[in-house]
Amino acid sequence: MSKPFYTNEYPTQLRRLIPDLLRGRELLFDLVWKDVRIRYRYAMLGLMWAVIEPLFMMLVLTFVISVVFQIQPGRRPENAGPGFDAVFILAGLLTWQFLAAALTSSARSLIDGENLVTKVNFPREVLPLAAIGSACVNLVIGLVLLSVLHLAFVGMPPATAGWAAALVLVVVLLAAGLGLLISTLNLAFRDVGYITNAALLFGFYATPVFYSPSMVENALAARDLDWLYPIYFANPMAGTITAIRDALFYGQTPSASLIAWPIACAAGSFAAGLIVFRRRAGTLADQV
């Protein structure tokens, strides 16, 4: 007897994960492409918004931090001008905004794709992954902006900039894992979507986006709360963004102690995300 094309076990079998993802890759790209097109379809400036948004956000934060509070978000090298602060903030901002956008949209991905989930059989992973993918598109555009500003205000990036690029991939992996988890959990408990939003708001301040971890260290030490500092770094984004900046602005190869935990988090969440999602993939349609 030939092998069945489909059995009710297929959607939940882990060993079919890779073939399913391969089968769904064109669909994945189609969905990402669709998402990008419709997002800016009727906007006059179109894809320009992917540049304007982070740029504007960067200017606001730089104004508040550097001008109003007169704080240097990061140690400025001697030859760097005030533009350095803006670029420094942008590097953290882009990374964080990517994670935030990816998680918010993947949390809704299955619910928004109800029409598909309840009508057609296809590898379900494609939907949250497409949400991550379309956030990636914005990230890439943002990174181009970052490179331009970096060249303009900071100068040639050091050779270690390659590490920064690799670390961005770690963030993408982390986002994918969390996105898969959140999307399926959000079906069972719609609370998860709200929790995610709250957590992201908290994370924005608990992550060195517009400041450096050394400020946190100093502030904690001043209050004899030194033990809190490692806990601060339990947030994988803290280590990642710090390491990215080290590589991008100070020519430092990221220290293993700094990036081991974020990499472990990313790998762990990605694996967990795929496994949990597979487990639940069969009955997603019942929950939408």
Binding site: Y6, N8, E9, R37, V120, A188, L284
Partner: protein, 693 residues
């Protein structure tokens, strides 16, 4: 090997925790109290398999689990227990245009949608034009889908789904979309797909479609599979179990079985279905719309093993169908009457008898023929013959009489206006049909009270030979014999045979009246009645256009002579410009002779379009005669000296290629005025003598 295997499938839904809105339960308070969510069983112990190329229908009341089962097979959701195996690619037409995004153009959506069905871009490139063409969207294909009408939306959705070329189609209530034209297209496409050996699983509430499209039907009730059977039986079972059982009854006598089901009759003989799934039914046309017997609310009033009376009340028309069904000496008799409280204006009464595809030949009076195959391209019904006045009997012949019996039917107390014919249906209905229609005249209405209508008597055991014999008898009944001469009446014409050789052609013997510049040929009248009065044949034909009827009478005179009289019954005062009675002889006739002159029939050339008078003398005459080598001489005579007729010889145009003997009355001054009443307009005879006499 089965292509779909469903084994012991159970499906339970939990009213999931966290979904407060659905039941108002399952929120945090319940979680704290440890109250478990309730479970709903949607499917229980479902086991069946589908073979490749089969089309199977799923029926059941709302909430019986049909759609859930389809979703499980489609892989949209998985069963709680049990297993499903599918050995082919599935396209689920669960909802058309699922996943269309309103802001994307039709073209972009086609690619996206086909991708969701599992197609590669390159594959879509190859069939994109077919999809666009089928959808009929035209230039709008590059407009955002948001600008589409809902009809265009589903059309595009169907076009994509129908072209992704899977092995198995799952179809859930999608045939009721789009306009009629598109529905026809859908049906044809589905017909083609079935023909191509695609496996189909249908869910529909339209039992008629299930009936027609499916070879097998699975009946679900509250999540359990309760029947697997042929469509007719499963549907009857369904209606009996779940539907209204009031209008259902089975009659039995010997091997014959009749199932009456709410305005539809199915006939079985030795368990074989004689009728197609659509059965026998009637309909009424009122104000241009049709109401079928199945639209009525049926109850049984008298019931026994071999007889029943059913009444179907159609509240919309205020009309009651009264059907009496019973066996009478081995025949099954079905008589139809209509009852209404107030006179009801209807245009047409019709009985439609759907026979199965196992029948290949038809008989109608002495005419007979074969049914051709019905192919997916047949989207309209195809008449096998023009509608004609009812003969004494008609019949349908089985290809294999060991399985289905040939059926002969006779008609009793039908109205004088009833016409019948045999037709093939379109591909989707796939039946041989006998249509009997009775058009009510203008201003005529169904009277208040009871009006008897059609009555059919079916003989199921008679066999082909018997039906053929009856048919020959019928032919004889329409034939007048005088010595070696025969005249056979055929719908406003009569053929003339001499020694069994046909000597007329085209429209044979016929008559025509010129009124207001229009020729009213007898062959175009509605022939309502044909009576045999001893040796004589009488027929009445009514004009559809002008207020008159023609009464013909044809009877033998001396051997070799047949008399032909025509009476004109003017229903109102009638002005006729001219009229004629003619006999069209075969082209071999060579010479013509009148009382005063004679001549040769010139050859008829390919560019001769019109009829040409050959004699020059237009005076009133008494006879005209034609002769030809080896042919009997034919004379058309006017016997009534009071009717001034010119007797002339003519050639027809090339496409008819006949020699004509004609008695013509022209109005020399103005019009021939016929006051209301009956007037004899022609009384003559046709005399045929052997050549040389």
């Amino acid at each position: 090997m089965a292509i779909i295997e469903v084994e012991n499938v159970n499906k339970r839904f939990r009213s999931a925790r966290g979904v407060r809105a659905l039941l108002g339960r399952g929120g945090l308070p319940d979680l704290v109290r440890g109250r478990r969510a309730e479970e709903v069983t949607a499917l229980e112990g479902i086991t069946f398999s589908v073979d490749p190329g089969e089309s199977v229908g799923l029926i059941g009341a709302n909430g019986s689990g049909k759609s859930t089962l389809l979703k499980i097979i489609a892989g949209v959701t998985v069963p709680t227990e049990g297993s499903v195996r599918v050995y082919g690619r599935v396209a689920s037409l669960l909802e058309l245009g699922a996943g269309f995004h309103p802001l994307l153009s039709g073209r972009e959506n086609v690619y996206l949608n086909a991708g969701i069905y599992g197609m590669r871009r390159a594959q879509v490139d190859a069939i994109f034009d077919c999809i666009a063409e089928f959808s009929g969207i035209g230039k709008f294909i590059d407009f955002p889908v948001a600008t589409y009408s809902s009809g265009m939306y589903v059309r595009l959705g169907f076009a994509v789904a129908a072209h992704v070329n899977p092995d198995i189609f799952l179809i859930d209530e999608v045939l009721a979309v789009g306009d009629e034209e598109f529905q026809r297209k859908c049906r044809r496409r589905i017909g083609e797909l079935i023909e191509q050996g695609k496996t189909m699983l249908f869910v529909s509430h339209d039992l008629a479609i299930i009936n027609v499209l499916c070879r097998r039907v699975i009946l679900l009730n509250r999540g359990r599979l309760i029947a697997r059977d042929t469509p007719a039986k499963a549907i009857d079972f369904y209606l009996r179990q779940i539907g209204a059982p009031k209008g259902i009854h089975t009659l039995k006598q010997g091997p014959a079985e009749v199932v009456l089901c709410n305005g539809r009759i199915s006939l079985y003989y030795r368990q074989e279905e004689i009728t197609s799934p659509l059965g026998f039914r009637t309909q009424v046309s009122r104000l241009g719309g049709w109401r079928g017997s199945q639209d009525a609310e049926w109850t049984l009033t008298e019931v026994s093993e071999t007889r029943c009376v059913a009444r179907g009340y159609d509240a919309k028309l205020g009309l009651t169908h009264v059907w009496e069904l019973g066996f009478d000496g081995g025949d099954f008799v079905w008589s139809v009457a209509y009852e209404c409280a107030q006179p009801l204006d209807v245009e047409m009464l019709e009985a439609t008898l759907f026979f199965g595809m196992a029948y290949t030949g038809w008989m109608y009076g002495e005419a007979s023929g074969g049914f051709h195959d019905i192919v997916p391209d047949d989207t309209t019904w195809a008449p096998m013959m023009a509608a004609e006045i009812l003969p004494e009997a008609a019949g349908i012949l089985a290809a294999d009489e060991q399985r289905q019996p040939s059926v002969s039917m006779t008609f009793e107390n039908t109205g004088p206006l009833a016409l019948g014919n045999w037709q093939n249906t379109d591909y989707l209905s796939k039946s041989r049909v006998f249509r009997l229609e009775e058009r009510l005249g203008k201003g005529e209405a169904l009277p208040s009270g009871t009006r008897k209508s059609f009555c059919f008597r079916f003989n199921l055991g008679s066999g082909r030979k018997e039906i053929e014999r009856r048919s020959r008898e019928q032919g004889l009944r329409r034939t007048v014999v005088s010595g070696r001469l025969q005249a056979r009446f055929k719908r406003g014409q009569f053929e003339i045979l001499y020694d069994d050789r046909l000597i007329t052609t085209g429209v044979h013997g016929y008559a025509s009246l010129l009124i207001q510049g229009l020729w009213n040929d007898s062959s175009n009248l509605r022939w309502e009645r044909l009576e045999r009065d001893g040796e004589a044949l009488r027929a009445i034909g009514a004009s559809r256009r002008f207020p008159f009827r023609m009464h013909w009478s044809i009877f033998p005179k001396s051997p070799g002579a047949i008399a032909w009289t025509i009476d004109l019954e003017a229903l109102e005062d009638l002005d006729v410009q001219e009229y004629q009675a003619s006999v069209l002889l075969v082209e071999e006739y060579a010479r013509w002779t009148t009382a005063t002159e004679s001549g040769e029939f010139p050859p008829i050339r390919a560019d001769d379009d019109d009829w040409v008078h050959l004699n020059r003398d237009y005076a009133v005459g008494s006879s005209v005669r034609a002769e030809g080598p080896g042919l009997p001489a034919v004379t058309l005579r006017n016997d009534e000296v009071d009717i001034p007729l010119r007797m002339t010889a003519l050639n027809t145009g090339f496409h008819q290629r006949a020699r004509v003997l004609q008695a013509l009355r022209a109005a020399d001054h103005g019009l021939i005025h016929f006051p209301r009443g009956t007037h004899q307009i022609f009384a003559g005879e046709i005399v045929v003598v052997p050549a040389g006499e």
